[in-house]
Symmetry: C2
Subunit: 431 residues, 2 copies
Amino acid sequence: MNLDHLPGFREFYPAPLPANESWSLDARRHVFEAWRRVAVRYGFREYDGPPLEPLELYTAKSGDEIVGQLFNFTDKGDRAVSLRPEMTPTLARMVARQERNYRKPIKWFAIPQLFRYEKQQKGRLREHFQFNADIFGETGRAADAEIIALLIDSLRELGLGSGDFVVRLSSRLAWQAFFERNAKPGADPAGFFQAIDKMEREPPETTDGKLALAGCTLDQVKAYVAAAEPTPDLREILDDVCARGLSDYVAIDYSVIRGLAYYTGPVFEAFDRKGVFRAIAGGGRYDQLVKMLSGGRADLPGLGFGMGDVVLLELLKDRGLLPEFGAGAEVFVLSEPGGSRAEALSLVQWLRDRGCAVDHSFTPQKLDKQIKRAVELGCLGLARAEGSGLRKAWCRNLRTREEVSLDWEAIPGWVGELRSGCQQKIGQPVG
Amino acid sequence: MNLDHLPGFREFYPAPLPANESWSLDARRHVFEAWRRVAVRYGFREYDGPPLEPLELYTAKSGDEIVGQLFNFTDKGDRAVSLRPEMTPTLARMVARQERNYRKPIKWFAIPQLFRYEKQQKGRLREHFQFNADIFGETGRAADAEIIALLIDSLRELGLGSGDFVVRLSSRLAWQAFFERNAKPGADPAGFFQAIDKMEREPPETTDGKLALAGCTLDQVKAYVAAAEPTPDLREILDDVCARGLSDYVAIDYSVIRGLAYYTGPVFEAFDRKGVFRAIAGGGRYDQLVKMLSGGRADLPGLGFGMGDVVLLELLKDRGLLPEFGAGAEVFVLSEPGGSRAEALSLVQWLRDRGCAVDHSFTPQKLDKQIKRAVELGCLGLARAEGSGLRKAWCRNLRTREEVSLDWEAIPGWVGELRSGCQQKIGQPVG
């Protein structure tokens, strides 16, 4: 049988990651938990929707041309369906259906896995996870500032500082005004916006040619970007973000415009300062999207961002910000060869019931083999029940080699001390 | 546009759940976190694989007949692919590929979303999440006991007791021996096993008819089930589980045999004691599966279980074991109308940076409106910055209505006290 998974899909292995694997489940959880922690701190609530959706949900917004990039098919009930390429249409449908039952503003987040049938290229995957955070029902600029602050804090939580990344802030409305001032009558704004969006990745001649269709020149556009005069909207957002002490993380940059058609106001993208990686995250305001996707049944202003796991994990790796992940448990309970296995099992259970991560040997083994195993697992300590029914245990700190005899009652506290004296993350500590 | 998701798929909404919705993201997280917490305590490591796989991965194990139950299609690269209906084939492939790089025994878990194109019936979904835990590289019965103890503790962690559920323990080998003693020569063991598997759900005549094909009678089978004599294997597992103090949660029950063909030893299923729900979880030993799925490239004994979210969430709801989930933040920071918004924002950021879940008003509102919003969100307390630069705040406990003036430094501790005095879960507290 073919042992391979599909091209562009990932397997996530636990630590210690084999040398020929790139994707660590522990690193992924580290990122997911940071995202979730910060979203909860910001008062965002988690939701989720189906990974498989009616194809129409995507063609309605983006037209039939998107179908070429989808994992779409006809299911056994003759429905045209697709794996979700993005979360916003699902979210807009959920919000449209239930918005009456939630107080505004609605602040929601999700961490969906998304799928695109991209042409196979190095580093181009066909699935990724994306942190999505959105606010509905708020037109004021304070909401834009809140979503940008959330983006910044999600990256700060992972150890990235103002030397590592910046959120480049721009405005569709500003570009709309520029277009109205400078474009020749009848020019297509969509083509103009796309030329700006691709400006940094295309040769100047190409951009100039596209801009000429709208009666503009690259020099005009460059001068506008260089001036970077914030509109009153952007000024308000900047003031708010600065009041939060986050001014080092934002900059006005009109070279950002966002590719998608549905943005209606402030837009932004987060980039690494070294300019090595693709955009880390991007988003903006889309006040018409819920109305459009719900066929007018609901009409709520919205805004949000998406942050993928692939670029972020590469960036964190590059900056040495991924912690080392332990291979297993905190405590290894030794079984005396020839001693009472029941006593050892009882101690194992007692410690697990009190929240300690415990491993032990399934088969009778010499003590030195058990200790070797404990070290391989990255355990912090050893424990061995002393005599039947005594409820005392001999314990060894594997870092300091210090040994103590403790009542069982005292061992969880001792494990807590080992844990707090250790930077290493054991598995995925939750809750 | 059609506002509906596909039949058999779920949308998960945040608390407070609208009356016409059944699936709460908060309840789902509550279950996932319990699963993860217990798995980590047991020294299991998390992994994940692609939700879309080559179709062959499933037909190789289960034959072409399974295709009728799959979400399968041909992708744009002409590959026959399928959404994963179960995790074990993916896991066996991952283990076969990398087992040389991991110390044995390998103890891994995952919480994948799985997909089956089931006939639409009430309560029959087309996707669900499943807690999968498996051990590879260990033939001893201590591993079977460990996996059963993990199953039990995953349910105990959610508040279920020995009055709520029991793990019914049986053995493929025992039934194999029974078959060899009692079946007529040339009879088909697979048909015999299936008759036992469906015994509790089919009329006695049907079962009797199926058993007759193997030369056995229902009375013979019933007598064997009633005697429930543990084999030496099962005795060993029971002793181990009892030494952990979990004897109230297991019983020998030969009416369990598991439908899937690949089990090779002890098998088990967890049921609610009232017999109202379908099986909560099931698993067993499958020592040949890695070898078969890897085409002999790897050969490791394995065992594990799967526990779905659907039956479990219904059971927890039925027993009143789902906590109430708060709608939002812990602290609401008030902005004095006409006062300094910058000061309020600074306090918001200060508290969030220190791990508090904080919400605030985006627009200038009267204080009583802000307080009403705080109460709607289920906040535990209010805070209002006192004067510019003083770094003091007026704080109110929303339960006791107690008011205090605190230095900013002291507020996180005050929030901690509010939190510990409160059963309610705020959003998804992680880490």
